[in-house]
């Protein structure tokens, strides 16, 4: 039995979401401390197995956060991640995990507030587990 660790794993693109997270810290916007940010060069780097392993470790939720569509420095990284997230949700459904526990979000470097909102939202959603 996998022990739930109640953590939210956020894979953050270092060109956008990671900067937004830094900004949130600098603005002292306090958000739930159960989030664990993993820096990736582009959210398109995140593979299905990374998502699944996070759940295997007992994560409460997984977030893929990248740039807005049309603003990916690698053109297709974020749209691929979006498709991948949709596919991964199917895989999760197959194993009986609530699909809402995986989400893809788009955040620009200056969107500290929206970043915080994403984290709070996911924390809220995964609380009832």
């Amino acid at each position: 039995m996998i022990r739930g660790n109640n953590k939210i794993v956020a894979f953050c693109c270092e060109n956008s979401a990671y900067l937004a997270a830094d900004k949130a810290g600098r603005m002292r916007l306090h958000y739930p401390d159960n989030v664990r940010i993993i820096r990736v060069p582009c959210v398109g780097r995140v593979d299905l197995i990374h998502i699944l392993k996070a759940f295997e470790k007992g994560a409460a939720g997984v977030l893929l956060i990248g740039c807005h569509e049309g603003a990916c420095q690698h053109l297709t990284g974020n749209t691929r991640a979006k498709e991948r997230a949709a596919y991964a949700r199917n895989l999760l459904k197959e194993v009986g995990i609530d699909e809402a526990r995986l989400r893809m979000a788009n955040i620009a470097p200056d969107m500290a507030q929206q970043f915080v909102r994403e984290i709070e939202d996911m924390t809220e959603k995964t609380k009832e587990r």
Binding site: N15, S16, D22, H68, G70, P109, D110, Q114, R117
Partner: protein
Amino acid sequence: METSSLVIGGGVAGVAAALALADNGSQVYLIETEPSIGGWAASFCCKATDVCTKCSVCVVPQKLQQVAIHPHISILTDSMVAGLSGGIGNFKVEVLQKPQYIPPERCIACGMCAEVCPTEPKAIRSPSPEAVPYSYVLDESRCLRLKGETCDLCRDICPTNAIDFNHEPEKKELGVGAIIVATGFEVFDAREMGCLGYGRYPNVLTGLDLERIFNREGYLKLPSNGKDPKKVAFVQCIGSRDESHGYCSQVCCKYAIRFARLIKYQNPNAEVTIFYIDLQTAGKGFAQFYEECQKNIRFVRGLPVEVLGTSSGELEVRFENISEGTVKRETFDVVALSVGISPKKDSWDLARTLGINLGECGFFDAKEPLNSNETNVEGIFLAGTCQGPRDIPDSIAHGMAAAQSAMEVLERCK
């Protein structure tokens, strides 16, 4: 002959120019009058809805960071050019730097100094979240110690012993082969158009205010009561294309339409109106975007003449709808004035120091229209909005183009 170069102004254009020069091996001095680089664009906000709307604001932080860590770039903040001698290939530039009571290279931004500072508001300011360099700034006018009182609280608590009240203004002489002027612009002060109520009514905002609100808060709420806006008006050409500004600021139509779209995205029930003279919708992909926007944003040809507060706290806008040939009154709860790009008021000082010309509109004058980087002084080049209105990508391009001209000079000097 010098192979190093000087960039005056750390906004987008200056930063792009500095990066381009440094990447080509030139030692670059980047001087900035403010305590941090980035200029206006650093405080702007992303205007993406669920998709990117191509405002280019997100390219700025990356460039600033690259500049900050570039081994060939020395950033001198709080500095200005005080004198110039020599000529192309061999300029001697006198730079005056304000006292660095908290030198950025010693400040680790722990914030303990601000915590202990006894004045209210604090004499030590925390840097804005996007500031580069990210270090605390001492406000001379508020600091008790600098006013002659005895207070060493911040100095004593600073873990890196960074604070030194004995710092004097510093004069530096830099030898450079070429100079790039990238001093940027001033945002038109909407108070000058008193009839539109800016500064009088809290819900009359400027484009710049919107940038900052969205940058900090992420969402637009009515400044007066914190509620969601229901009826928003944008007024174009504030400080552009009028008697004293004989040019189009090039950025306002686009940012207004993008903001309108963003507000509509966040508040689908809000009604958004844009008042304009001629809409500038040229540019890569913008026409299609505009077409999309026409579906749920109202465009009215004609500029309001007056904005008045009503007793219920709304704003009554009087305008002529030119297309319909009618004069109307309509109430809105937010009026956003699309302020334009104005030349810097102190351009004249720099022009005199460097010996370069100012054009009719108050921007620096380019020698020939086909090369808008060149000035009347050989070896001094212009970049970005100090030469004329430009948006972010055009400013970056112009900065790189200035760097190219400077590079040619430096290559010749080798």
